[in-house]
């Protein structure tokens, strides 16, 4: 008879850990569930912090170095908290040809943020993607999960400013 290895306790009372745990349990805590576990951490918390990686490593009985190695290998995993809004500029070939570079420059000037960074007030994260597959709408951006296409720099900045302002207004109303 094989002994059942003791699973680590959840890092905190935060209910989101249960979601992460469920993902790993579904695959029988198998080693190959690592990427899925990291996806579920990021879906739940928005990014992967050290606590999360230690928890996943302990649960799947993997060295932390392996978990860290996998988390840093893939572009999609974030190791820092993200802003309240996200803007992903597609830098695929079609978007590049149609002016993705100008969009990024415009964002840098207007919001003082470089790709891969978050504004100091935590309002906006700007990222780049290799290709979001919306080449027919180049240049494409993904704002808070919604794809928008054929934008120029002014239109994009105005749209983002509106999105951020809209949220502040909602907060004041509450």
């Amino acid at each position: 008879m094989t002994m059942q290895r003791a699973r680590p306790s959840l890092p905190s009372n935060d209910k989101r850990w249960k979601l992460v745990n469920a993902t790993m349990r579904r695959s029988g805590y198998a080693e190959h569930a690592l990427i899925e576990a990291l996806h579920s951490v990021q879906d739940a918390f928005g990014y992967l912090d050290e606590d999360a990686m230690i928890f996943v490593a302990d649960s799947l009985d993997l060295p932390l170095s392996k978990v860290f190695g996998v988390a840093t290998f893939y572009h999609l995993f974030m190791l820092k908290p993200q802003g309240r809004h996200s803007c992903v500029v597609c830098t695929g070939t079609a978007c590049y040809i149609q002016g993705a570079g100008a969009l990024i420059e415009g964002l840098e000037q207007r919001f003082d943020v470089n790709p891969g960074e978050t504004t100091e007030d935590g309002a906006l994260s700007v990222m780049t993607a290799r290709c979001v597959g919306a080449c027919g709408l180049a240049p494409a951006v993904v704002i808070d999960g919604q794809v928008s296409g054929k934008l120029d720099s002014n239109a994009l900045n105005a749209k983002l400013a509106g999105q951020i302002k809209g949220q502040i207004r909602e907060e004041i109303a509450q």
Binding site: A30, E31, H32, A33, L34, I35, E36, L38, H39, K66, G69, V70, F73, Y74, H75, L76, F77, T91, G92, T93, A94, C95, Y96, I97, Q98, A129, R130, C131, V132, G133, A134, C135, G136, L137, A138, A140, G145, Q146, V147, S148, G149
Partner: protein, 540 residues
């Protein structure tokens, strides 16, 4: 269940909507959704219910191809193919009442009319995309009504695995992911491995910038891909499949999940499929943003939960793949070709295309071209026809400069070679590749040196870092290109760049590194003057 039972089932589903004569189809694939298809769908659905027009229904469908004119709405007789539809372009929710009236009376709305007989549609031959824009991607019944799963049931009940492989071999289908390896040969290699655990993998990690064929196929007709995978599994003796798909394609993932769930519930995936002895289960694995995972050995490492780094081949996956077991890996479009081949026969398929490239190919047209979107044409269609007729030429009165095929592993083709027929081998003679089918058109305003630098930046940051030629070589090449673009380099640096191209090409471990120099080499081959213009005048 045999083919006749399936036909009965299809009839049963047909009767559910017996009163429906006309369909209003709204494209809800990613591109049209981004252009605002959802409000259009809602307005039409609400309007259709309110108008009490029982002979009419609103249906969401997948990609109709012409993404630049989205959102697209088609009015057609029930289950009629796309080329018999009345098509409307740039539709907004406000247009819903007029469209509903037109569906009732048959009188077209001239303002929104998009001619279905224009070359963009008329020049296409749709095999992979035959259901795309016709079937509701979330409807299992809709797929069965259109003849779906017929090929699978036929293979399971009337053919031996060897006969299925023979049919695929006769069709001379070649891998649509870009490599062009004969599919029948690949299948028979895995089938010949000793019985035991075998796997089938669908590579849906479409990382090529400028390519969105796989995305559109999965969003438009996911059951077609599942059917192809199940037939492959039966042929090679596998009972487990994985679809490795990019997390950047949330809509495709969602529709694929729905399709798997519904097919399982209907007994078309799972244990004792259609009451035969065949078992096949499919799982989805999400990628996490790494171009190198398109490389088969890297993709398998990623499914196993590790860093997506390739390993040397041999052993090939056919021999030792996922967890060391024999594994068949094909691309989305390859699987989407399987059902028609089984249904209509390998000979029929082999009758389409050129001598050494059979069938059709789906291309994603993007960049500086009037009609951006998805097209499917027979192999051997001249590049000029694709760009000028189907694509509608270059917008804004600008001149054509080059078309880039094959993504970062491909190359740029100049005007002088536009009359070449598109197939695997002719593209190779021009120093580029078919790749998965991305085609990006560039006009005279594009600088080819900057384009080369763009691709090198891509390869540099996507290199997995395992082997030195790729890790360090691409970084050096990018540095050299950057200096040439900025006018800080001389003839010596250009010579060094060319030398590096050869080294990286010859010594890299996997396809990413081996093909990274292609964009540089092909632009140097056809646009060398542009490089030389930017060089520092050494003598001065």
């Amino acid at each position: 269940m045999n083919v006749d039972d399936l036909e009965e089932l299809a009839d049963l589903h047909r009767q559910e909507h017996a009163a429906v004569k006309t369909e209003i189809r709204v494209c809800t694939a990613a591109s049209c959704q981004s252009s605002g298809a959802q409000p259009v769908l809602e307005a039409l659905t609400a309007g259709c219910e309110a108008s009490e027009h029982p002979g009419c229904r609103v249906k969401q469908v997948g990609c109709m191809g012409l993404c630049s004119a989205g959102p697209l709405v088609a009015i057609a007789a029930k289950d009629a193919p796309l080329d018999q539809a009345q098509l409307y372009r740039d539709v907004t929710a406000a247009d819903a009442p007029e469209i509903l009236t037109s569906a009732k009376t048959g009188a077209p709305v001239e303002r929104l009319h998009c001619p279905i007989d224009m070359p963009f549609f008329a020049r296409q031959q749709r095999i992979v995309l035959e259901n795309s824009g016709v079937v509701d991607p979330n409807s299992f019944k809709g797929y069965v009504v259109l003849g779906g799963y017929r090929a699978m049931v036929q293979a399971l009940t009337e053919m031996t695995p060897a006969e299925v492989i023979a049919e695929v071999t006769t069709s001379a289908l070649r891998g649509r992911g870009g490599g062009g390896y004969p599919t029948g040969l690949k299948w028979s290699t895995v089938a010949k491995m000793p019985a035991g655990q075998k796997y089938v993998i669908c590579n849906a990690d479409e990382g090529d910038p400028g390519a969105f064929m796989d995305r559109a196929i999965l969003e438009s007709d996911p059951h077609r891909v599942l059917e192809g995978m199940a037939i492959a599994a039966y042929a090679i003796g596998a009972n487990k499949g994985f679809v490795y798909i990019r997390a950047e394609y949330p809509l495709a993932v969602e529709r694929l999940k729905t399709a798997i769930r519904k097919a399982k519930r209907a007994g078309f995936i799972g244990h004792h499929i259609c009451e035969t002895e065949f078992n096949f289960d499919i799982e989805i694995r999400l990628g996490a943003g790494a171009f190198v995972c398109g490389e088969e050995t890297a993709l398998m490492a990623s499914i196993e939960g590790g860093r997506g780094q390739p390993r040397p081949r041999p052993p090939y996956p056919a021999e030792s793949g996922l967890w060391g077991c024999p594994t068949l890996i094909n691309n989305v479009e390859t699987y989407a070709n399987i059902a028609p081949i089984v249904r209509d026969g390998g000979d029929w398929f082999a009758g389409i295309g050129t001598e050494r490239s059979k069938g059709t190919k789906v291309f994603a047209l993007a960049g500086a071209i009037c009609n951006t979107g998805l097209i499917e044409v027979p192999m051997g269609t001249p590049l000029r026809d694709i760009i000028e007729d189907i694509g509608g030429g270059i917008p804004g009165g600008k001149a054509f400069k080059a078309v880039q095929t094959g993504g970062p592993s491909g190359g740029c083709i100049p005007e002088a070679h536009l009359d070449i027929p598109v197939d695997y081998d002719s593209l190779k003679t021009l120093g580029t590749i078919m790749g998965s089918g991305g085609m990006i058109v560039m006009d005279e305003t594009s600088s080819m040196v900057e384009v080369a630098r763009f691709f090198m930046e891509f390869c540099m940051s996507e290199s997995c870092g395992k082997c030195i030629p790729c890790r360090a070589g691409t970084a050096q090449m990018h540095g050299l290109l950057d200096r040439i673009v900025k006018g800080e380099a001389g003839a010596q640096e250009l010579a060094l760049l060319e030398e590096l191209c050869e080294v990286v090409q010859a010594t890299s471990l996997c396809g990413l590194g081996q093909t990274a120099p292609n964009p540089v080499l092909s632009t140097l081959r056809y646009f060398r003057a542009e490089y030389e213009q930017r060089l520092l005048d050494q003598a001065a």
